[in-house]
Symmetry: C2
Subunit: 120 residues, 2 copies
């Protein structure tokens, strides 16, 4: 019997998509197919260097791949890896959801038992 919620979470993956700026970054990349640090920074309220750092961590965990193209470095999303990340998100969510439901059920059961007592 498992005593704790699964939480079989790749911590790097999670923290990568945990940052709101990185989420928007992934969103933009997904939307436009590809982008560079400069092009992306123009659509975000942060500097090019900040974006570059984020792309660095996203690249490190494999959520995006950056390939040099002339004087610029073009990044694009790794669909499979992002799908994995999304799956983890869903997994943590549903684990908690399940536990919440269970707790609720138990609480109701106790309530019922108490009513039975009073009715004696």
């Amino acid at each position: 019997m498992t005593t704790a919620v699964a939480e079989a979470v790749d911590d790097d993956l999670w923290s990568a998509i945990g940052d709101p700026t990185r989420r928007r970054l992934l969103d933009l990349l997904l939307l436009e197919g590809a982008g560079t640090a400069t092009s992306l920074s123009q659509q975000l309220p942060v500097t090019r260097q900040a974006v570059a750092k984020h792309l660095g961590v996203l690249d490190r965990v494999g959520l995006v791949h950056g390939t040099p193209a002339g004087r610029e470095r073009r990044y694009r999303v790794d669909d499979a890896q992002l799908a994995r990340a999304v799956a983890q998100l869903a997994s943590v969510g549903s684990a908690w959801d399940a536990r919440l439901r269970r707790i609720k059920r138990i609480a109701e059961a106790i309530q019922v038992a108490r009513n039975d007592q009073e009715a004696t």
Copy 2:
């Protein structure tokens, strides 16, 4: 037409459940019903003070409530608020999931078109 994924995320809530230690904390509280900084810290690889801080931020965003009980302060989860957080998690996840599926569909469509051309 919406050009970006919803991302209607309460940032405080998200960052509250973004921390792995806080997730384990919520997990423990959910499992045991209630707990204090001291009791919880004994089941985690961090000090009592660290746990106290986390409970502080969880309390501030309303995911838990702490009530003084004699010389100790007892915390318990706010089910409704946690349910909200879980819902947000699911929402972000499904938004990306949808976009990934859409991208995949477009990619396949392009592939089909290309094959048609070649078949001419």
